[in-house]
């Protein structure tokens, strides 16, 4: 299966379906993009599980940061992995997520993270795949926030 960019409806569905996100490569430095995104998702009501061996055991938004996806306890259902890794390391993360996370619905690779083969493997496993996008930007665009900053959301509507 070949990756194609998501529709706005796909993105809305993902945000509706998703409850818990594993952020792979999260930083605890408050000015790093991965922290920005994780904090934003948490502010919007998503449970965020940080994955990064360098920060293992630190607490992020009330949850301990784990070293790897394999460390996620069985009672936490991860719906989505959000991957903040170099493109050449993304494939291994995708494979690990497919192997270890039984409830996984969505594999999301951040802006600049591109691995078409890994995307095809995730699609073949029946997952939704988003690549080279940011969930914070897409959420802000679809639900009215970017409009407040004067960004071109591409959306027009005569509805309230």
């Amino acid at each position: 299966m070949k990756y194609g960019p998501p529709t706005d409806n796909d993105l809305r569905d993902i945000f509706r379906e998703t409850k818990t996100v594993a952020c792979v490569g999260v930083s605890t430095n408050p000015v790093r993009p991965s922290y920005f995104v994780a904090r934003y998702l948490n502010l919007r009501g998503f449970r965020v599980i940080g994955i990064n061996p360098n920060y293992q055991g630190e607490v992020l938004f009330g949850e301990p940061i784990l070293a790897r996806l394999a460390d996620i306890p069985a009672d936490i259902n991860i719906d989505m992995v959000d991957i903040f890794r170099r493109s050449d390391q993304a494939g291994a993360v995708v494979d690990e997520a497919l192997a270890l996370l039984p409830n996984l619905r969505t594999v999301w690779m951040q802006i600049g993270v591109i691995d078409h083969e890994a995307a095809a493997r995730a699609l073949a496993a029946g997952k939704r795949v988003i690549m080279d996008r940011c969930p914070k930007i897409e959420y802000q665009r679809l639900f009215g926030e970017l409009r407040m900053g004067g960004f071109n959301t591409g959306l027009i509507s005569s509805k309230l």
């Binding site: 960019p5 998501p6 529709t7 706005d8 408050p30 000015v31 790093r32 993009p33 920005f36 904090r39 934003y40 502010l43 802006i111 940011c134 930007i137 897409e138 802000q140 665009r141 009215g144 926030e145 970017l146 409009r147 407040m148 900053g149 004067g150 960004f151 071109n152 959301t153 591409g154 959306l155 027009i156 509507s157 005569s158 509805k159 309230l160």
Partner: protein
């Protein structure tokens, strides 16, 4: 960013940025005449101040009426976002501000509005910036004028006053060789006639005071970003690629990706320079833009007829309109400005400076004002007014020599416009 239907220009000019008001259902965008906005709670306030959420804090930065206009202009230009400013001149400084630093320079076209020539040749020096003026018909000269301190290339799409049409793809290629963005002032062409981003430009500036507002009521400016320039590809743009001390070391490009330049415009530019668009002016401009395409069609139709009439008149030396088949820029205008070469041009009156000043005193329908892009037809003798601060060499290079009068053709009945210039020329050349 979206797969939503690609709406046509005429739909976007009415709907982009302007959903019904969520608080009241008001169909027209309300004028949000407020300076400040209540935070939901302390966490919300902190997130806004840390740029972790986008929202309204204080109208120097963001305002719902201004935001609607920003999104509309960004949509019409095909950009990622836009920053509203208090005037077109403010927009020019705001466009350069994220890129420049003391010692930096910008390579600019000689064919610019006189006020811009003055801003670039004198005023920006007080910031330690400088401009290098080049004939943009020679793209090699653009590259040759640049050095390691060059941060941008700047031109007008249709240049005021002469109606010269810039070869934007050639300027974009030169900017690419230098490794800097091309900034295009698209005021005189508007996004209806000229598509700078599709021709390789990276940033667009507007005086929204002109065709966008259209009725001569409201000052305003706009900086639109394409989101396509890679600010981290070199070390030329540290304000965008390096840690920002005022935000605890945040790197704008790393954090905001393609939205970095617009975020910087709001979070640093408007915050610290304060050249904010007023909500009332944004409202008036939103109203004007709703009819932009219709007005531009008539502006161009009238300009073509009037330029042809003037060119055939024995009291006229020459007409600079690129929409005339006789123009040396006719082919370029057809290729790059297929819906028309605008409605702004100059013509030389036989009798020189004295005849020009008599002419502007003799018109009855044309208004003698320092403005352009109004529904009304406007006339001005640039050399004694808008381009007065320039040397005569600069005036001639800008297309504003002492023997020419500039017209901004309105949307009145063409026969009345011709009759008015006919009687005024008779008095001027008597």
């Amino acid at each position: 960013m979206t797969d939503a239907p690609k709406y046509g220009f005429d739909t976007l000019q009415i709907h982009a940025g302007a959903r019904p008001d969520p608080a009241t259902g008001a169909r027209q965008t309300p004028i949000y005449q407020t300076t400040a906005y209540v935070f939901r709670d302390a966490d919300h306030a902190a997130a806004l101040f840390n740029l972790q959420e986008v929202g309204y804090i204080y109208s120097r930065l963001t305002n719902p009426t201004v935001s609607a206009l920003q999104e509309r202009v960004a949509a019409l230009e095909g950009g990622i976002g836009a920053v509203g400013c208090s005037s077109g001149h403010a927009a020019q400084l705001m466009a350069l501000f994220p890129l420049m630093m003391p010692g930096a320079n910008v390579v600019v076209s000689t064919r610019l509005y006189g006020g811009t020539v003055t801003q670039f040749s004198h005023t920006i020096k007080r910031f330690g910036w400088s401009a290098r003026f080049v004939d943009f018909d020679d793209p090699a000269a653009i590259v040759a004028a640049a050095d390691e301190n060059t941060k941008a290339v700047f031109c007008e799409s249709i240049a005021n006053p002469g109606g010269y049409v810039t070869d934007i793809p050639a300027a974009a290629k030169a900017a690419g060789e230098i490794g800097v963005p091309l900034i295009v002032d698209n005021t005189s062409a508007t996004p209806y006639l000229c598509r700078p981003f599709e021709q390789g430009a990276h940033v667009i500036v507007h005086s929204t005071t002109k065709y966008l507002s259209g009725n001569g009521t409201s000052m305003g400016g706009m900086v639109v970003d394409s989101g396509t320039f890679d600010w981290s590809a070199s070390d030329k743009f540290p304000s965008l690629s390096q840690p920002e001390p005022a935000y605890h070391g945040l790197k704008f490009h790393e954090t905001f990706g393609p939205m970095a330049y617009v975020f910087h415009g709001i979070a640093i530019g408007l915050r610290d320079l304060g050249m904010t668009m007023a909500p009332m002016n944004a409202f008036q401009t939103l109203l004007g833009i709703e009819t932009l395409s219709l007005r531009m069609q008539r502006h161009v139709e009238n300009a073509v007829k009037l330029a042809a009439w003037l060119e055939a008149d024995p009291r006229v030396d020459y007409v600079t309109y690129a929409g005339l088949p006789s123009s040396p820029y006719a082919d370029r205008a057809k290729a790059l400005y297929p819906k028309g070469a605008g409605a702004l041009f100059t013509f030389a009156v036989k009798g020189g400076y004295a005849a020009c000043t008599k002419l502007v005193d003799a018109v009855e329908v044309f208004s003698h004002v320092a403005n352009l892009g109004d529904t009304r037809s406007l006339i001005i003798h640039s050399a004694s007014t808008t381009h007065r601060q320039l040397t005569e060499d600069q005036q001639v290079a800008a297309g504003a020599g002492p023997n020419v009068v500039r017209l901004s053709i309105g949307i009145e009945d063409i026969n009345d416009l011709i009759a008015d210039l006919d009687q005024a020329l008779a008095k001027a050349t008597a």
